[in-house]
Every structure is written in C-alpha cells, then in structure tokens.
C-alpha cells in the first residue's frame, strides 16, 4: 500500500498511544483536521495492510514478572532451517522465531527464538522439552539469558 502525507501524520500522531477517552478516534481527528470516520477508515486500512501489526496493549514484560528471557540460538544446516524454524515457531512458549545470518567464525548460529518466562528453571525446562519432543538433540544450540535491560522503547516515526 502507498502511504500519503496524511497517513504519515496519523502514524506519527498515534505512535505513543491512543487517547484514553470515549471517542479516541474523534480526538485524533480533531488534532489532524480529519473526521472521526476518516480516522477510523484509515486506521482500519493500515491494519489490514499489515502496517499496523496490532492495536492494543504493549506490555512492559519485566514489570509483569517476565524476567527470565532466553534467546535460544541454533546452528541448523541450511537445508533444514525452514523446517526447524516452523517447528520452533509453532511451540506455544516461543514468542519470536527468526532466521538470521551466521557470523563465522565467532557466531555459527542461524536460527533465533525467544522464550520469555517468569523463572529461569521453567524456561530451561521448556527448552529441554522442545528439544526432546521435536528431536533437535543433534542441532548445536546456545541459550543466552538476558541480564540487565538498558533501553526499551519503540521505534520513532516522524
């Protein structure tokens, strides 16, 4: 979809959040010189085209107790990466799963998935169970738990 000037203004206007009022889209419209209906239609279009991935609550997962956050990385043979990626991506506790480039010789891993949990032991249990149930024992992997979080904000759009 081709975005026009008005779309970019709308995207920037709501990036930090929707107004917490009864008619949030009317309020946004007032700021931008649009009708409530125009705002609703445009947001709907942005959502259907996938530019807005979703609309609603963005949590601070640390503050909700999700402090054990594991990035599990796998060194999967290139011809198996799609299959293993689909397998991992369909596990209920996996929150993200991406293929990324290896950086040899120091970084041989090409498949990344995130598992967020409230306790490190439970996250490790989940990972062991996935490895066993999916038959992934022979694929080299590493688990990188996060330490301190230094910055969390969304991307900014002008």
């Amino acid at each position: 979809m081709v975005l026009n000037e008005q779309d970019y203004r709308l995207i920037a206007e709501i990036q930090d959040g929707l107004p917490l009022s009864r008619r949030p889209y009317a309020e946004i419209g007032q700021r931008l010189g649009l009708s409530e209906q125009q705002v609703i239609e445009r947001i709907d279009t942005l959502q259907q085209s996938g530019i807005i991935k979703r609309m609603g609550i963005v949590v601070r997962h640390h503050e909700l107790g999700y402090t054990a956050n594991a990035m599990v990385v796998w060194d999967v043979p290139d011809d198996q990466v799609d299959a293993v990626g689909e397998q991992l991506g369909s596990q209920p506790c996996v929150t993200l799963c991406y293929q990324r480039p290896r950086k040899l010789p120091h970084w041989p891993y090409n498949l990344f998935c995130m598992i967020h949990g409230q306790q490190r032991e439970r996250v490790l249990d989940h990972i062991n169970r996935i490895v066993a149930s999916q038959g992934l024992e022979q694929i080299p992997r590493k688990i990188l738990f996060s330490g301190k979080r230094f910055k969390q904000r969304g991307a900014k759009y002008q």
Binding site: I57, L144, K156
Partner: protein, 147 residues
C-alpha cells in the same frame, strides 16, 4: 493487579476495536464499564506495567530499517560501551546477555540504508566491531504475554 487487570492484559494485546466507541466495545467483552476500562488502563500505564496503549507498527512496511546487532564487549569495558551505544537515538532496545557476544541491541532507522551508517558510527564511537544480524526469514511473531 487483580483478576480484572489480568483479563484486560490478556485480552487487549491485540484486536482493540476500530469504532467510534472502542473502549465501550472492549469493556463489554470484558464485562466491565467503559469508564472502568479507561481508568484501569490509565493506572497500569501510570505504574509502568504497560509500555503504551496503541499501535504496534511493522517497521519495514513503514519503509524503515530494523536489525538486531551484537557486540563482543569484555565485562570491564561494558559500561563505557553501553553508554555510547544507548546514546544513539536509533537504538530501540539493548540487553546484556550472558555470552561472549554480550551486548544485543535493535536498531530502528527511518530508511534501510541508514542501518549500515549507524553501525559504522557505533563502531567508530566504541572501537568494537558491530555484528549485524538482520532477519532473513520470519517463522513466528507472537510476543504476547499471559498474566
């Protein structure tokens, strides 16, 4: 946080209505009043359990650049490098991880081309190589949290 707050978090990470009274519609589905939903969202934003209430954008479809980067920073140099990296406005978030590749951050830029130049700038500022690991294939993006 009580059961109602938890229900709000579990139900409203996606699919907030695009309609003239969206809070009323969402509140009805939760069995509460519109004003109460607004009040509770406000409170959870205030006490920082929620990061924000609104859209989550697809950076690449907006024409932006997005990449995961890592640096192998020795422990005794971590603080200095961390400060330098976080000073870049393009760094969206940054986590320490327990590995030789110890610093992991996401770059979000206005154009895809800008990723490479920010990486050069970070390398010049810190003196370390930045390993750029953009996504090549996406198998799953859920990233929702049950409470």
């Amino acid at each position: 946080m009580d059961d109602t707050d938890r229900a709000i978090i579990n139900r409203l990470q996606d699919g907030f209505p695009i309609a003239d009274r969206p809070y009323r519609l969402a509140a009805e589905a939760l069995g509460i009043q519109e004003q109460e939903l607004i009040r509770r969202l406000h409170a959870m934003l205030e006490n920082r359990q929620l990061s924000r209430f609104g859209p989550l954008y697809h950076a690449e479809r907006l024409g932006g650049g997005l990449s995961l980067c890592a640096i192998r920073v020795p422990v005794d140099d971590f603080e200095r490098v961390n400060e330098q990296v976080n000073a870049f406005p393009e760094v969206a978030h940054n986590y320490a991880r327990d590995h030789e590749f110890s610093m992991w951050f996401v770059l979000a830029t206005e154009t895809p081309q800008r990723i490479e130049s920010v990486i050069r700038e970070i390398e010049q500022a810190t003196g370390y190589r930045v390993y750029n690991m953009p996504k090549e294939e996406e198998f799953f993006v859920g990233l929702k949290f049950e409470v």
